[in-house]
């Protein structure tokens, strides 16, 4: 085909099949068409480079913006976490703190108790010393009583 095309370009009397003729006609048309031979202005190279540079800078700026937004969001999240943590710490401060003294049945025992308020009610933390170790399945109990000695829980 190439050789026949070549000869077509030299000698238009050569016979081709339909697709070859169409292609050859298009080739001859394009070879005679100004846009095929056209040259862009010498300024176009700089214009292209400048346009790509601008697009590149815009993308970098956009990425930077996203990074900054992400960093800001992270900072806000961290701040929120800190507030929650502080609040939790604040909540974690005992509502009551008392020293425990032993009665006559266990004169060597001593300890402290802290009462925390929580969403579900109260939590009591006991730190007792000098209490004899209990055998398995037995526990010490803590009772809260008001100033009048009435049991609260």
């Amino acid at each position: 085909v190439s050789e026949r095309w070549g000869s077509h370009l030299v000698d238009e009397g050569t016979r081709f099949d339909a697709s070859e003729e169409s292609a050859a006609a298009l080739l001859v048309e394009l070879l005679g068409d100004a846009p095929t031979w056209s040259e862009p202005s010498s300024a176009l190279e700089d214009a292209v480079v400048g346009t790509v540079r601008t697009a590149c800078a815009r993308r970098r700026w956009s990425h930077r913006l996203v990074r900054r937004a992400t960093a800001a969001a992270t900072a806000v999240a961290a701040a929120c976490a800190l507030v929650v943590g502080l609040t939790a710490q604040h909540d974690a401060r005992p509502e009551l703190r008392g020293r425990l003294t032993a009665d006559g049945s266990l004169p060597g025992a001593a300890g402290s108790a802290e009462v925390y308020r929580s969403r579900s009610g109260f939590r009591v933390a006991l730190d007792a010393k000098g209490l004899p170790e209990l055998r398995a399945g037995r526990y010490y109990e803590a009772w809260l009583a008001d100033v009048n000695g009435r049991d609260r829980s």
Binding site: V1, S2, E3, R4, W5, G6, H8, L9, V10, S19, E20, S22, A23, L26, L27, V28, L30, L31, G32, D33, A34, P35, T36, W37, S38, E39, P40, S41, S42, L44, E45, A47, V48, V49, T51, V52, R53, A55, C56
Partner: protein, 196 residues
């Protein structure tokens, strides 16, 4: 960096290595220039064929390279980027053509029936493919052969007129044309597939 416009180069090349494409991806100026020097003429020729106006063709050429850069992350740098870039060039030219077709200018009554603006047919995609390939083949010719082909087809000159214009013997013109035709035919044998 030595700046050389493609129009001035005698060793035009339409190939780009992977290293340059990597730089193009990163938007490095030297790489963008190199890709433009390799393909700028082809993109511009396609755009001018589709749009018919130099300023629009230059705009489409700029857009083509920006779109190519934007999409460069998705290309395989080890493969020839020409088909990919040709597709972007065609689509961009068609987009600009559509945009311009929608643009209102003035009342149709005030335009003569022969005015080219009245022709609003879309660019022929196959012809745009062919422009790319023909231009690529032309750019691959040595400058002396390119000159005689241009005078024969673009300027419609006879062998004698070409010889006179270039100050050559008529036999030299014929032999250069013969060589050029053979190369064009070889380079453009796949044009048949585009047409069919």
């Amino acid at each position: 960096v030595t700046r050389r416009h493609p129009a001035d180069s005698s060793d035009r090349r339409n190939t780009i290595d992977a290293y340059v494409l990597e730089g193009f991806r990163r938007g490095e100026e030297s790489a963008v220039r190199e890709v433009y020097r390799a393909y700028g003429n082809l993109v511009y020729a396609v755009a001018l064929r589709a749009l018919g106006r130099r300023e629009l063709a230059e705009e489409a050429t700029q857009q083509t390279f920006v779109r190519a850069w934007q999409a460069a992350d998705r290309i395989d740098v080890l493969r020839d980027p020409a088909p990919w870039l040709a597709t972007i060039a065609k689509n961009t030219a068609i987009d600009v053509h559509r945009r311009e077709s929608r643009r209102e200018t003035r009342a149709i009554d005030s335009v003569s029936a022969e005015h080219p603006a009245l022709v609003t047919t879309s660019p022929d995609l196959a012809a745009l493919d062919a422009v790319w390939q023909v231009r690529q083949a032309i750019d691959a010719l040595p400058p002396d052969e390119r000159a005689v082909v241009r005078l024969q087809y673009m300027s419609g000159m006879t062998h004698r007129e070409i010889a006179s214009t270039l100050g050559l013997a008529i036999g030299t013109v014929k032999s250069r044309l013969h060589r050029a035709h053979g190369k064009l035919a070889n380079l453009l044998s796949h044009l048949r597939e585009v047409v069919s």
